[in-house]
């Protein structure tokens, strides 16, 4: 009995050591590019962050140093899509006018007086205008706060008919995950929404949930991510993997999404990166659409 108790202790220690190694290697890798983050991490580990000495803004700056614009980079596998945006390609090339409609939930808009200008649809518009000189780019937003995908489908249908955008970017899944909607029902709603957009003659991009390390224990996101992916694949629609990108940025140390900051600075930087990446994603998907059928129809950007 004694001996087995010792072995049990040895096992526990070994398992604990493995877990610790796993955690620290992950952490160290993330911290490497930003030594300043060590202090932020130390501040975080205090039970009451509100009383820690650095001001929130200062901590914010330490955790996410002002970085050059190209640091929004993500690995190419997150950007490649086999789906094509043929109508966007055509709009850019022949009509020189691109109308985009973002239909999303609350995570498509930041709070505050200048929230709208800092959130990703506005950043997308700015980035596209920069990329596509000579093309009129308009990005409109229709927010559907506290609506499940099923409830958004008629809105998608109506908006696509009334506004006739070239492209609808549908950000979905968050509220369904919060409400733990039956994943099967969710998938059916996504598919009917995409079918409605196809019937209305607009291109579509699906955007999935945000990555939020703090909320992992509270929200079950996996079934919704899976179903969005499957829905996108089945309808040949590009999937903008917001979740994967934000997770990548968090892991690479670009953004510290575990931060308890109450300020808008971090949120704005993340949205800026999302907008820029989304612009590149849309242009790429359109570009390859132009490539695919006929090499002569090249898009300049």
């Amino acid at each position: 009995m004694k001996a087995s108790a010792w072995i049990l202790a040895a096992w526990m220690t070994a398992a604990g050591a493995v877990a610790a190694v796993v955690v620290t290697t992950g952490g160290a890798r993330a911290d490497e590019p930003h030594p300043a983050e060590a202090s932020a991490a130390a501040a975080k580990s205090e039970p009451a962050p509100a009383v820690s000495t650095p001001a929130p803004a200062a901590r914010d700056a330490a955790a996410t140093p002002a970085a050059p614009a190209d640091s929004c980079e993500v690995p190419s596998y997150l950007l490649t899509t086999e789906a094509r945006l043929a109508r966007v390609a055509e709009a850019i090339q022949t009509r020189r006018r691109l109308d985009i409609l973002v239909v999303g939930s609350a995570s498509s808009l930041l709070a505050g007086p200048d929230g709208a200008s800092g959130s990703y649809p506005a950043r997308l518009e700015a980035a596209l205008r920069e990329r596509l000189s000579g093309v009129t780019v308009n990005v409109a937003v229709v927010l559907q706060v506290k609506k499940t995908a099923e409830e958004v489908v008629p809105v998608l249908e109506k908006q696509a008919k009334d506004r006739k955008p070239t492209l609808v970017i549908w950000q979905t899944g968050t509220y369904d995950a919060l409400k733990s909607v039956d994943p099967e029902d969710f998938r059916a709603a996504v598919e009917s929404g995409l079918a409605a957009l196809a019937a209305a003659g607009t291109d579509a991009v699906l955007m999935n949930l945000q990555y939020s390390p703090r909320m992992e224990t509270m929200i079950t996101v996996a079934p919704y991510l899976d179903n969005i992916r499957v829905g996108a694949e089945e309808h040949g629609v590009p999937l903008f993997d917001r979740f994967g990108m934000m997770r990548y940025w968090n892991e690479s140390g670009r953004f510290d999404l575990f931060n308890t900051s109450h300020g808008l600075a971090l949120a704005k930087q993340v949205h800026d990166c999302l907008g820029q990446t989304l612009a590149a994603f849309v242009v790429d998907a359109a570009h390859s659409a132009a490539d695919a059928p006929d090499d002569e129809h090249r898009i300049q950007h």
Binding site: R214, P223, E251, A267
Partner: protein
């Protein structure tokens, strides 16, 4: 650490080897006499508990050791089956020797312990999310914070939790276990009269569940993640095996056909699972097969999962004999001990997983490519 299980508690002491239970000599003698003590069960329950714990953690290197990456079923099946087996073994004997009332009283006492453990875990969970709610107001996640809205009406939430209707992430197994144990007395009673009838009724209930979508509703919406109407089949099957079914099946288990079928099915499941992790392989999947197979429903214990568990069990029983000396080796002893104290280890695992995610730097999200959807 959570609930001290007294030695007199049969489930805590179930299948404990004699030398580890000096204070229960009578039972130890009886067990030695019966010769049916199964260290294999304790070992695999211990392994299942560790796998469940690993599955609750954010993905890391250890995640690749869990069986759900290599087939349809996962540690939950092992845990529920063995729980059914050991519960029937221990309380079945109590029912034979001491009568229905005494055995029922013991079972209800055990149910109460599991219930208290669940409430205790819920309290810890509540503390954790309350901390998150007050300390974490990142505007980036304004929408996601909506999940904490239930904190605004604790009167409803706490009552719903006590009614087992509100079950946060990762806290689904204990409510299932509670419900299954609650119905153990009538199951055992019937099983001692006609084991096959009990198993038949259980399979019938499973079929009716699939036919008529029987579910238990959850709070604030949705259904129980593990549907007790479906999962009872695994539990009752475990009980059936414990009360003589395993012996009667030994011929089937030893046959070459069973072996070949099991290996073939495990290989098939492995290949299918590969396509979830390596999307490039997905195009080799015949569309018809996909249509017929997906989604593999974990909530209602998909037949594919059940069959996968059976195949695993058949191969394990064939190649790992009950008198394999390794079972008594000091190196496997920790796992066996974990299996013998399943409730404590399970609760500790849930607690550590919670603490890990909220306290440490949780770097990775739950990347569950499992088409069955979700985690344990």
């Amino acid at each position: 650490m959570v609930v001290a299980v007294p030695v007199t508690n049969p489930a805590g002491a179930e299948a404990v080897p004699p030398h580890a239970q000096p204070r229960a000599p009578a039972r130890a003698r009886a067990a030695r006499h019966a010769g049916e003590r199964e260290l294999r069960l304790d070992l695999f329950r211990g392994i299942a508990l560790w796998l469940i714990y690993i599955d609750h953690l954010p993905p890391n290197i250890l995640t690749w050791f869990t069986i759900r990456n290599y087939g349809f079923s996962d540690a939950t099946e092992i845990f529920i089956f063995i729980s059914g087996y050991t519960a029937a073994f221990v309380y079945g004997r109590a029912m034979r020797e001491r009568g229905f009332v005494v055995a029922t009283a013991r079972i209800l006492k055990r149910v109460w312990q599991i219930y208290v453990a669940h409430v205790f875990l819920f309290t810890i969970y509540l503390a954790e999310i309350s901390y998150v709610a007050t300390s974490f107001e990142n505007p980036l996640y304004a929408e996601e914070m909506g999940i904490l809205d239930f904190l605004k009406q604790p009167d409803v939430t706490i009552v719903q939790a006590l009614l087992l209707k509100f079950r946060p992430v990762n806290m689904d197994v204990l409510p299932l276990y509670i419900v299954l144990m609650l119905f153990l007395p009538p199951i055992l009673w019937l099983m001692q009269r006609s084991a096959d009838l009990a198993l038949g009724l259980s399979v019938l209930l499973y079929a009716l569940t699939w036919q008529y979508d029987l579910t238990l509703t959850a709070y604030p919406n949705g259904v129980w993640y593990f549907n007790p109407f479906a999962w009872q089949m695994l539990f009752v099957f475990g009980a059936w095996c414990a009360l003589g079914g395993a012996k009667r099946m030994s011929g089937v288990l030893a046959s070459r056909t069973t072996l070949v079928l099991s290996i073939a099915y495990l290989l098939f499941a492995f290949c299918v699972t590969l396509t979830w992790y390596i999307p490039q392989l997905a195009r080799f999947m015949p569309a018809l097969l996909e249509q017929w197979m997906y989604p593999i429903n974990k909530t209602d214990l998909d037949v594919l999962r059940f069959a996968h568990f059976l195949a695993l069990a058949a191969i394990t029983v064939r190649f790992l004999h009950r008198d394999w000396p390794g079972l008594k080796s000091p190196w496997l002893r920790p796992l066996v001990v974990c299996g013998q104290h399943s409730l404590e280890i399970f609760c500790l695992g849930v607690f550590l997983a919670l603490a890990d995610k909220s306290g440490a730097r949780a770097k990775l999200a739950d990347e569950d490519a499992d088409m069955a959807g979700g985690e344990l």
